[in-house]
Symmetry: C3
Subunit: 200 residues, 3 copies
């Protein structure tokens, strides 16, 4: 469980960095950038908690999430250029992040006794809606509504996780299979320019 | 009650179609369009449920709503041009939809013991805020803030419903009177270009 | 306590006026303007209540808030030009408003047993996020993300309030010291063009 907690914090950290970098392009001050970092990292889980009625929302009960976001904002502020060169590393940890967020959101919803379909939706919301809120706050149409298969990878990964655990697979094995699957899927999607059909 | 449930689902269906068609104008992929369809159809009721503290939000407990939205997205995707020619039919069912959403939202709030004024607001929020969320996600100033008397029709209809039920009228008669009243009001408003005074 | 309740209502009134005036610049009708006024005045407290799980949200239980907002919209509608000349008065009461909202939000969170850091955040959210929602609904990047030290003044004032009450200071004295401190801080910030470092 400790490794999973660590990965959850790492996901939070990477999401917060991506939020701060987006803010940098919008001429925001350090407060605005912190809000965007926070919303990018914890907005998805917050929406999930509010929808399923699990309040106070989870980050209020564990201050490590705020701490990690604070560090991410400071690091981004001082090492912006270095981070922008670490594209592949960022992509890798970002994908671990959405994988972990999907699984944890899915489990939290299942534990409350809701249907697997709702759990799958809430897992994806946890992983994806932080970015949606970030884009809305920055005045842009949310990127994932027209980007490569970002949310689709969460849905596919979440489905795999549900199948594996229902087949009785070991928890750790299910987690690693799911995260690896999402990483491979996203890497392929970017490389081969996969995209969903457009509605136009 | 079954007819009312059917009308609620029909309203959901028509709202989801209108969401998908809005998405089509924004060059979104099918995932983005589905999110917009979902938010248009269920966003108002979701905000209502969160504000009054009725969680998990209602669509999590009845998967028929998701099913209806899925069908609406597929239908819109394949029959876009046909639907756009059905303007009057769409307007008719859309208005039945806001009528039903207003009444159901109003009742749900009253049952929790809140004031009729709050119930009236929550009825209108149920009917109208799905469209507000849709416009925000699509990067536009919400249409209803400057359109013909859309929300006003919900407020007027909700008030009529409150008066009728308080006078002891039969439930079905109150529902039909309210929905008919909203339909006539909107049709007149569109025909005669009624609008609220502007603040400028 | 009665004076504090009065100041809370005055803050609500001034926020609602500022919302209506923003709406006036966007060519909204009177319904749209009322929604913006409402969201500006009560949106921050609503988000706070939803995050900490205190539902139904507070304004549903005391209709005076809605009444005050209604009056503010009507007053703004008829006396727009007069109000726009009262810049300094508006600034003064707006600052009292954010001070009161910060303190009341902070206390409400502490009473639920949450950490002072979370309480400080929720106090600031109460004071500041009404304006954020207003800007999002009007299609703009939220002003406070790049404005003089607006939210920072709330954080600083909230911290002072926490310190004073922890030192055992009288409640009224803590409130007045905090509000005065925020007023002086904002006045200085505006006069001397203080701003936070930008991320760019």
């Amino acid at each position: 469980l400790n490794l999973i907690y660590a990965l959850d914090l790492i996901g939070t950290f990477v999401f917060a960095i991506s939020g701060t970098l987006t803010a940098a392009g919008k001429k925001l001050d350090i407060f605005g950038a912190s809000v965007i970092a926070f919303v990018t990292a914890l907005g998805g889980g917050t929406i999930r908690d509010v929808l399923i009625g699990s309040q106070p929302v989870s980050w209020m009960l564990d201050l490590n999430y705020l701490l990690v976001i604070g560090i991410a904002v400071i690091v981004s502020f001082f090492f912006k250029k270095h981070i922008q060169q670490l594209r592949k590393t960022m992509f890798f940890f970002d994908t671990i992040g959405i994988g972990m967020f999907t699984i944890l959101g899915l489990q939290k919803t299942l534990i409350l006794g809701m249907s697997p379909i709702i759990a799958l939706m809430m897992g994806t919301v946890s992983a994806v809606f932080g970015g949606v809120l970030r884009d809305i706050l920055c005045g842009e149409i949310p990127l994932i509504f027209r980007k490569e298969i970002y949310a689709t990878a969460c849905l596919a990964g979440g489905t795999l996780f549900l199948i594996l655990t229902n087949l009785g697979a070991n928890y750790d094995i299910s987690v690693w299979s799911t995260v690896s699957f999402i990483i491979v899927l996203r890497a392929l999607a970017v490389k081969r320019h996969w995209s969903l059909p457009f509605v136009s």
